[in-house]
Symmetry: C3
């Protein structure tokens, strides 16, 4: 994916637009807020039905909304049991529309963790590489996500 | 306010626009920079005259520009005396225009603290829920703000 | 530069636009990703040929792409040798076009550091003041950058 970030001048292509950039920002804001609110089913619906989600700690990507929602529910329950809150803060979005209308987005994702009655701190620093698709209902959804963690080799 | 974040598809409503999204981002950038610069009066003028500001550590919301400016001056003096700087970093803005033209914005606010000659760290992780109003002078201003802290139950 | 952040209402000037705001965000996303990827030459080309870059730890600003690229290469090598990764996370952009077409941008820059096999944390909290120029090839480039660090007096 490195090459995707190094070609100069793509923001000048006809497909890149300020309107798309703002929509993508709004998309991530809502998606991450749903996750952090523990709204697992609604969060899962921000992915396509058969979306893949690859993380470095699993040998295979998770696939499909049911698996994603189950993972989100599990994490929400673990955090609640531990008296912790997580916030996923996405930024530095490099938005690159493809000729076929899909949108490649490479962003930084900082995860903050707070302990109830305790301190807040940086939990993870990640890079998030997504493929977003325009859907028939007018929404953007993630069809493929690959997350890497800066603390892992 | 949870429901405000879970209705799907509102970015497709006629009222949501990329132009509004960028304006709201620019608004928060200037507002928080004024606060962190200790420009208490100018910061207070980014709120409506009778704005309310609720935080979890006060039993009642602060109300009105004079009270807000006084609180900002007090905090600026305390930080200066302690050799500290704060930066308020807002992001993940979920921007939802209402039919009446007001704009609900739910965002994440990370406060960083740096000690002169020392270290920088995460100080607070907050959620900020604002009502923004379009004003006759063409500006946006906050009429009501509610801040919650992730480290408090 | 303080005054640049305090004049009210400049986002209402004809020159400020949501389109410019999004372009500036996209510019920083790509510029910082190139830096963090160690793409020193390509990163240097996001500055004008004779750009200046002032930091508090050097008595004189660095000047020109060759000097910038050399500094970026040196930092990338040092981080790799130490098993560390840095991410530059820019936000809170106050974007102020000048009448001559140059664009003043004052932003916050958080630098996160992660140790391979270890923890991630806030490394630096900085303020970044840039002059961006529209170039003949349609790109924005930085002609002058001044970075301050919150942990230094």
């Amino acid at each position: 994916m490195t090459t995707a970030t190094t070609a100069p001048g793509l923001e000048q292509s006809p497909a890149w637009s300020a309107a798309l950039y703002a929509r993508v920002q709004q998309f991530y804001a809502r998606q991450m807020q749903l996750l952090d609110l523990g709204e697992a089913e609604r969060w899962a619906r921000t992915f396509t039905e058969d979306a893949t989600f690859a993380v470095p700690t699993l040998p295979e990507p998770a696939r499909g909304r049911a698996a994603l929602a189950a993972a989100a529910r599990r994490t929400a329950a673990e955090l609640a049991a531990a008296g912790q809150r997580h916030r996923h803060f996405i930024g530095m979005l490099d938005v690159r529309p493809r000729p076929d209308g899909a949108v490649d987005v490479r962003s930084y994702a900082i995860v903050y963790a707070s302990q109830t009655g305790g301190a807040s701190q940086v939990h993870r620093v990640c890079v998030c590489e997504d493929v977003l698709l325009h859907q028939d209902d007018g929404e953007l959804r993630v069809s493929a996500r690959t997350v890497t963690r800066d603390d892992l080799a």
